[in-house]
């Protein structure tokens, strides 16, 4: 666990910077805002205690918020995502459970498992995020379209990142 700490610190910093300085400036056709920084929560080890999950999510969300001056918006979404992560893991667990010494990555459990896992969590995150952002239920479907499109885009980015990550670790 301890030896993983520096790597997660780096990935935290890298993801926040990537999100804040590059992706936040991308707004494809006014609908699509990818939020790749949630990859940090997706990639946390299976053994992470639940309370640590929530607190890490809170710190992550707050950091992104601080940089995009939307205090509280990303927090609530990431914390919600962290909250449902253990249940999602339980529901989609493979037949013989999760092996120790593995991480929730594409190369350990396969593409279909990983897509299921990331899609559910990313959709949940984006759903909360976008609805907190507009803060109303009128125009429900306009917001919903934004949620779906942005989720798809984020999932694609997360999938691409898996191949980068994989190579990095092998090295």
């Amino acid at each position: 666990m301890i030896k993983l700490f520096p790597r997660y610190l780096i990935s935290f910093t890298f993801l926040v910077f990537l999100q804040v300085f590059i992706l936040n400036n991308i707004q494809l056709s006014g609908y699509i805002n990818p939020y790749i920084y949630v990859l940090f929560i997706l990639a946390l080890p299976f053994e992470t205690p639940n309370w640590a999950l929530l607190i890490l999510a809170f710190i992550l969300g707050l950091t992104v918020d601080l940089f995009s001056s939307t205090i509280g918006m990303h927090c609530s979404a990431t914390v919600f995502m962290a909250f449902i992560r253990p249940y999602v893991l339980k529901v989609i667990s493979p037949r013989d459970g999760y092996e120790s010494e593995t991480l929730p990555r594409l190369k350990y459990y396969g593409a279909s498992w990983f897509i299921k896992y990331s899609a559910i969590l990313i959709f949940a995150h984006h759903f909360v995020l976008f609805y907190v952002e507009v803060f109303r239920l009128s125009n429900f479907f306009t917001t919903f379209t934004r949620v779906v499109l942005s989720s798809i885009f984020t999932i694609i980015l997360v999938l691409i990142s898996q191949y980068f990550y994989g190579k990095e670790i092998r090295r």
Binding site: N50, L54, I71, V79, A82, F83, F135, R136
Partner: protein, 273 residues
Amino acid sequence: MRSLLNFLLRMHFLLLFILIEILSFSLLVNNNNFHKAKLVNFSRQFAGNFHTKSANLKQYFSLTKENQRLAEENNRLLNIIESTYKSDEIFFRSVNDTILNQRYRYTSARIINNSINKKHNFLTLNKGSQQGIFPEMAAISDGNIVGVVKGVSSNYSTVISVLNLDLRISSKIKKNGYFGSLSWDGKDYQSATLSEIPLHADIQIGDTIITSGFSSIFPEGIFIGFISEIEEKGGSFYEIKVKLSTDFKSLDNVSIIGNLLQTEKLELEKQIN
């Protein structure tokens, strides 16, 4: 205690989640003007609905009080407006620094006893000499004539209503100023008779009758009613039936008008006689 701790331990994930979410939302609402405004708006609307409903209900219970307050407010305002002050014309070179002197003073009172079906009808008011009401003051309601104060005790006073065979009121036709004397005929509480209007006066049904202001009791221009019937009596005068604008059956609050210059005028007139 132990079971409570166990419970907390078992639920720590959910509780922590709720705690952090509350924290994030409070951060969100406190730091983002849009979300803050949205939330405040929502709560205002939500609470506003309830408040409107309860206020509506409450209003019914305070209507009496409100009425009284309004009557008093009215009198305060009537005391201020210009028409209650007489204008002093200046004939001499000397400069007087008060151009306007107050001439009429208004006080509100409630009617606590009223009758309309006798030949000599009186009203009783809940204010008397201690509240500054004296005989020979005029009583009006909403700008319409009611009567003249007759007897005063320390806390009550009686008013001779217009519906009294003994009361004669100096009145005039508003449009051309012909004046006559108005009295009640003792029959109908809605009409009275105006006499002493000369035949050459141009009058029509529907003309307005107001007080003339000659009597030192009523100020000029208090509404009495409208002409409803014109009859030529033997001699050179009309006898005019007037529909009274005051509804004596539904009177509640009256204003008492005191003429501050009444004694001065009467004393001057006495010298001539």
